[in-house]
């Protein structure tokens, strides 16, 4: 088939299926007219925006410096020409990319065609969609535009940028309904979509958890990140001061200098740390929609992630050391395509966070939204034997595992306590390993492999005989268990 680029592909009759196909509502003999769409025409503006600002900023600084030095400054038309040139280049590049990108999302297929010099055509299976996210960086948001990011499989995500915000939400809702197996038409999804400016919530959506800013500040304040930031500043400053004092310099006289040299940058980075983190997680809302779980967050950059519940491979609860007295937890989820666990909580990109910080009650609400059948509190935990304290003096009392009909739960970690919940039905393989010292003490480790990359589904230093039983039983349960009970 060598249809020239840009032309409609020849429409072939739908294949013969034994079941009634979903598109029988449209008479099959009538050739279906494909609706090809383009991104929003303002897209080039958004894509060129950043380069223009960067160049303008650099030139402004140059100009100000020239003014204070008293040296000759460049004539004004040079600035205008350079900024104009960069803007024009950005616009042209953006225009070309926009001109050659089209997509089709209808009853039968999802296809994205792109590329000017080399063409690329991607067709994504509706039933294999992992998650669909709508991102609104500040520049796009000011123009009422949004990026749609489609994850399917472990490959990089397919991005459609930028659509009008309404169209982005519509497309997202349509794709997610299809991902859940509902045979909706484009028009039905369109009628159901709301177009909110801040929250991305429709009338039928149920809010499960919202995280207020003071909770975010609390979490940021008592985090390891802040502590390591302060230590990172304090240690070099103290070292320099100590050396200076040792060589007979007046230590007391140095206090203002040290305070200025060390304190001011420290305050700046702490302020930046707080603002970035709060801005990224601002108004964090976890809601249940008909298309799956929706996570909306962000102050300037609005991020909206939608995850089909059936695609969640595992969930991890974490509790850093300083959160323990506060009884706060962080919850991550594992979905194919989200990649590794998100460490940077100030990112506005797609993340594995299900809840950045929450009380036990909020965690339970979030877990109930994912797996209503989960009975986490009823699980009995088996701890490592007493002599395992040799290997884990600090986490010995926490290391344990628990099993019920649906899930296997593992606990480990000392600085940050982790608790992983893996449904048997999502388990890919199980492994046990044992080193020479562990063999001497009759201990062994068991790891549970899932598709995700959270790396913590392991029981460490458990009784070796029990480990053998656990490995084989878990392999059996992986085959017999179904997730139906967990999901309903």
């Amino acid at each position: 088939m060598t249809a020239p680029y840009g032309q409609q592909p020849p429409s072939y009759p739908p294949p013969e299926y034994p079941e009634t196909p979903a598109w029988t509502s449209a008479p099959p003999q009538e050739p279906v007219r494909k609706v090809e769409e383009r991104a929003h025409p303002l897209t080039p503006l958004v894509r060129g925006w950043f380069a223009v600002v960067a160049v303008a900023w650099a030139m402004l600084q140059e100009w100000l410096q020239g003014r204070t030095d008293g040296t000759d400054r460049l004539p004004w038309w040079v600035f205008v020409a350079v900024i104009g040139g960069v803007a024009a280049l950005g616009l042209i590049a953006g225009f070309i990319s926009w001109r050659f990108t089209r997509f089709i999302a209808d009853e039968t297929e999802l296809r994205v065609e792109s590329g000017w010099i080399s063409h690329r055509s991607r067709r994504i299976s509706y039933t294999r969609l992992q998650s669909v996210d709508v991102m609104q960086p500040l520049a796009a948001r000011l123009l009422g535009l949004a990026e749609v990011r489609i994850d399917a499989g472990a490959h990089d995500s397919t991005k459609l940028r930028y659509l009008s915000r309404r169209r982005a939400y519509e497309l997202r809702d349509f794709l997610m309904l299809r991902a859940h197996g509902a045979q909706v038409s484009v028009d039905v999804a369109r009628a159901r979509t709301a177009d909110p400016l801040f929250a991305d919530l429709g009338g039928s959506d149920r809010v499960i958890v919202t995280v207020p800013p003071h909770e975010l500040l609390l979490g940021a304040f008592v985090s390891h990140d802040l502590l390591s930031l302060i230590i990172g500043f304090a240690v070099p400053v103290a070292a320099v001061w100590g050396v200076a004092a040792y060589f007979g310099h007046d230590a007391a006289a140095a206090i203002p200098v040290v305070a200025l040299a060390g304190g001011v940058p420290l305050l700046f980075s702490i302020a930046q740390y707080f603002t970035r983190r709060v801005m990224a997680q601002f108004n964090f809302t976890l809601a249940e929609t008909q298309a799956g779980l929706r996570i909306t967050r962000g102050l300037t950059n609005l991020t909206s992630q939608t995850v089909p519940v059936r695609r969640i491979q595992s969930i991890r609860l974490s509790q850093p050391l300083f959160w323990r007295p506060l009884r706060r937890y962080r919850v991550d989820l594992e979905v194919l395509g989200l990649g590794e666990a998100t460490h940077n909580e100030s990112t506005s990109k797609v993340s594995t966070l299900l809840l950045p910080i929450g009380t036990k009650k909020q965690v339970d609400a979030a877990l109930a939204a994912v797996w209503p059948g989960l009975r986490l509190d009823a699980i009995q935990y088996v701890r490592s034997p007493r002599h395992a304290v040799v290997f884990d003096p600090l986490s010995y009392s926490w290391n344990s595992f628990g099993v019920d009909d649906n899930v296997v739960v593992t606990r480990r970690g000392w600085l940050t306590r982790h608790q992983s919940i893996v449904p048997h039905a999502r388990l890919q393989s199980v492994a046990a390993y044992q080193g020479p010292l562990e063999r001497l003490l009759g201990l062994a480790n068991v790891t549970f492999h899932t598709t995700g990359l959270l790396h913590t589904h392991a029981v460490i230093h458990m009784n070796a005989d029990l480990a053998r039983t656990l490995v084989y039983d878990e392999a059996d349960r992986a085959m017999t268990s179904r997730d139906g009970e967990l999901l309903r």
């Binding site: 695609r311 080193g435 490995v471 059996d476 085959m479």
Partner: protein, 178 residues
């Protein structure tokens, strides 16, 4: 001792004895490539008369022995690794148990991996040049998890292909997806 790594079914199926040859040859090549240049460099640096650090080394006791220290260490390590390579190859075994495949390996650090057939996505057969020379092949089981890391090396080529086909057939009938 019943032991965590005792066979799940009646017995472990061992690999072809020829696989020990593959590991031994591999260990010989790798250790030679590492130790010969390291020993020569060491001998050159610690040469007592006229070497790069002769000013220091000529004053030390056992200067002559020091020059060949790396070579002695290398020879001992070489013999140890080659000896262990054969034993490591013989420690590798697999067994089929009901609806999953079990693989065990390792001498000091022992490992047992269990892959349910239903999770199998791809079964691969690979053979390197030395494998082909000896008529061996490696079967690798690929699941949706990148950590599964389940492979059985050193199977006779025909046996490897038979195992691959069988695994895929059983996996197809038991398959349950993501």
């Amino acid at each position: 001792m019943a032991g965590i790594f005792s066979p799940p079914a009646d017995r472990w199926i061992k690999l072809s004895p020829k696989y020990a040859v593959v590991r031994v040859v591999g260990a010989i090549i790798a250790n030679t490539l590492f130790w010969v240049p390291v020993s020569l460099l060491w001998a050159w640096v610690f040469e007592p008369r006229g070497g790069a650090m002769s000013g220091l080394t000529s004053t030390l006791p056992f200067a002559a022995q020091l020059q060949w220290l790396a070579a002695y260490v290398g020879i001992v390590w070489f013999i140890w690794r080659v000896y262990r390579a054969g034993r490591y190859a013989r420690s590798w075994a697999y067994a089929e148990r009901g609806q999953d495949l079990c693989i065990t390996r390792g001498l000091w650090y022992k490992n047992l991996t269990v892959v349910p057939y239903g999770r199998l996505q791809i079964a691969k057969v690979d053979a390197g040049p030395l494998d082909r020379l000896l008529g061996l092949a490696t079967v690798t089981l690929v699941t949706a998890s990148a950590h599964s890391n389940a492979s059985i090396p050193g199977l006779p080529a025909a046996e490897a292909e038979r195992l691959r086909d069988r695994l895929i057939e059983v996996g197809d009938t038991l398959g349950s997806g993501l």
